[in-house]
């Protein structure tokens, strides 16, 4: 049995080989009961995440995009096991998490998270080095070794340990704090890092620095990223594959080039159209998408996007669209791409 210090100096070994997905999410569902009224009765259910499945390949960056309230952050917290799913499971490198599989402590060592709010994610009463050295101590490192490790990680994220180690979070800028959060996520040598809108609160100039740092660290530490953002340009820059979510469900999933070149789902197309453009020919005066997403308490029947969709037909209200093939490694939850679905634009019969 190796000492904790030796164990935490490198990531845990690859179990299933390169072809085994690092993370498999199967039918992940989170419904929040909406309580109120007399005797706290359940008056409705918020379907925050509904039947979400995807594989995360080793070494890739998977971007998750969608409007606010579409379930991106709930998904990340479910994967982090910070909340209990209503249904579904998470498989890490071929092993289930829980009894008979990976222990929660081993799982937590391998999956870490960087939060959006760089200030709220650091304890204001701990110095920078204490904040970073906290989790190694939870995993059995001595305080002294943990702080040594914290200094190494500070240097790795480009902050001079001698200058920053003993400072407090409120003395630093947003970009510096986010670097510290990245160092804290890295200190356990995880294999997967969930980045929940890591640059959304930063200035554009700082944003680029942090994104490039994330790219470098991924190379250096052999990481896999789950990158959550509402900024389509950032997702395009960072990701290998993209998962588009709408109202708790997967709308489209595929390689970043394919999606950005030709979106298969009308929602993705509208999202991509909403980006500001320098090209006068692409200038438009109407918004590509009007209105707000419907209430997740009573989502529309069938396809959830049909209330805002240009191609909506009667059949869309009746059938929940399955994730249909829209290209190589590219799937979209739209009846147009589902042969034999009955939609006027779909192929009449299954090939």
């Amino acid at each position: 049995m190796a000492s904790p210090a030796a164990l935490l100096s490198r990531p845990l070994p690859d179990v299933g080989g390169p072809a085994q997905p690092l993370l498999s999410v199967r039918g992940l569902t989170k419904h929040f009961p909406l309580k109120g009224g007399l005797l706290n009765r359940t008056r409705g259910v918020v379907q925050a995440v509904d039947d979400v499945s995807f594989d995360l390949r080793k070494g890739e960056t998977l971007g998750i995009v969608g409007e606010s309230g579409c379930g991106k952050s709930t998904t990340s917290r479910l994967i982090m096991a910070l909340m209990e799913p209503t249904a579904g499971e998470v498989i890490f490198d071929g092993q289930t998490v829980g009894p008979g599989g990976l222990s929660m402590k081993e799982y937590r060592r391998q999956v870490q998270m960087v939060f959006q709010d760089s200030y709220a994610s650091l304890n204001p009463r701990l110095t920078i080095e204490e904040s970073i050295a906290y989790s190694p101590q939870v995993h059995g490192l001595s305080r002294r070794t943990a702080i040594e490790r914290a200094h190494e990680l500070l240097a790795a994220v480009g902050l001079e340990p001698g200058q920053f180690a003993r400072r407090y979070p409120h003395e630093l800028s947003g970009g510096q704090r986010q670097r510290i959060n990245i160092a804290r996520a890295l200190v356990l040598r995880p294999r997967l890092i969930i980045l929940d809108e890591p640059v959304s609160a930063l200035d554009k100039s700082v944003e680029a620095q942090v994104l490039n740092l994330l790219m470098d660290l991924k190379e250096q530490y052999g990481l896999t990223y789950l990158f959550i953002s509402h900024d389509l340009n950032v997702v395009q820059y960072m990701s290998d594959r993209v998962l588009v979510m709408y109202l708790g469900r997967v709308a489209e999933f595929g390689p970043v080039e394919a999606i950005y070149a030709k979106a298969a789902h009308p929602y993705t197309a509208a999202l991509l159209d909403s980006r500001p453009s320098m090209d006068p020919d692409r200038r438009r005066t109407e918004p590509p998408l009007s209105g707000d997403p419907p209430n997740p308490v009573n989502p529309p029947s069938g396809c959830r996007f049909r209330t805002r969709c240009l191609h909506a037909e009667d059949v869309c209200a009746a059938t929940v669209p399955p994730l249909a093939e829209a290209g190589e490694d590219h799937r979209a939850a739209c009846l147009v791409h589902s042969p034999g679905s009955g939609h006027s634009k779909a192929m009449p019969h299954a090939a």
Binding site: R77, M80, A81, L82, M104, K105, R108, R109, V111, Q112, M113, F115, D117, A120, S121, L122, N123, P124, R125, L126, T127, E130, S131, Y134, S135, V138, H139, R143, R144, I147, E148, H151, A155, E160, P161, G162, Q163, F164, A165, R166, R167, Y168, H170, E171, N181, R184, L188
Partner: protein, 300 residues
């Protein structure tokens, strides 16, 4: 948090000059307090008062219980009676010094006990959530439904007069108030990302409470408790005034205010003295608590 010497850990890194250590949290609080003259002055007055009442046997010019039918209600400034004498001819300065001991004791003790009990229950309720929270908070709400003075009078009235019962009733009045503040502070801290991050790294509940919750909630709860001291002193005096607290011949500011009531027309200045003491003390406690709250906010 104490930190150990860092020389060995930084020595290996090529670029490390002297580690820049920021002042610790309490050093920062003290630095901000030093620039706040009102808080310093009030704190000074309170310290002087505390010293005076503790040293009452040495400072008092007379016996607090020595009555004299001949020298009743002497005005302020009478030779040998610097602050006059009360309705039974006892030296006023002596009575105020000894009375302060009891007033401070009855004012502060309930807040200290309520800080311990209420703080613990509130932090447990806030951190545990769920049915534990429900149980503690609903019971709290029952107490909270009554105005504090009314509740204190009701409990004291039921238990009977006396110092012990007055302290007990005030403690019961303050526990729900402190539970409320402790619970809401803990709930808001518990949902912050740094607590999520700690849970996400596999830390146990005890470690999270010790490292992440307590240091961030004890300050606000403590500040709230100090603001209750002034209320406590006023209610305690009120109980004595109503005959539910201290009993004569014991000296206590509220009780003195009551017994000197009849002299308000003949010796108004004299009759006001105990009230003035209560006013100055509770105001100082209030201002000190305000100053502490400002100084303990790191973003100032």
């Amino acid at each position: 948090m104490s930190s150990t010497a860092m020389s060995t850990t930084t020595a290996g890194l090529p670029l490390a000059p002297q580690p820049v250590a920021s002042p610790g949290y309490w050093q920062g609080v003290w630095k901000r307090l030093r620039r706040d003259p009102v808080t310093l002055a009030c704190g000074g007055i309170l310290l002087l008062m505390l010293f005076a009442i503790l040293a009452a046997p040495l400072l008092a010019p007379a016996d607090p219980f020595q009555t004299s039918m001949l020298r009743r209600l002497r005005p302020v400034g009478t030779p040998n009676y610097i602050l006059g004498s009360d309705e039974l001819g006892r030296d006023m300065l002596t009575r105020l010094l000894y009375g302060g001991r009891l007033s401070w004791f009855i004012g502060i003790t309930p807040v200290v006990i309520a800080f311990g009990v209420g703080g613990l229950l509130g932090i447990v309720a806030g951190f545990a959530g769920g049915w534990v929270n429900m149980l503690i908070m609903r019971v709290t709400d029952v107490f909270y439904a009554f105005p504090s003075v009314l509740l204190a009078v009701a409990i004291s009235g039921a238990l009977g007069a006396g110092v012990f019962n007055a302290i007990l009733s005030l403690t019961l009045v303050f526990i729900p108030q402190i539970i409320r503040v402790a619970e809401s502070t803990t709930t808001s801290v518990r949902n912050l990302d740094y607590v999520e991050a700690a849970r996400g790294s596999g830390a146990g509940a005890m470690s999270i409470v010790r490292v992440h919750i307590l240091p961030n909630v004890l300050g606000p709860i403590f500040v709230y408790a100090t603001s209750l001291i002034s209320v406590s002193m006023i209610i305690a005096s009120g109980l004595s005034f109503l005959g539910l607290g201290t009993k004569p011949p014991e000296a206590e500011w509220g009780l003195m205010l009551n017994t000197l009531r009849s002299a308000i027309y003949s010796q108004p200045l004299l009759a006001m003295l105990p009230g003035l003491c209560i006013f100055v003390t509770s105001m100082c406690f209030n201002l000190v608590s305000d100053g502490l709250r400002a100084a303990m906010d790191v973003r100032n």
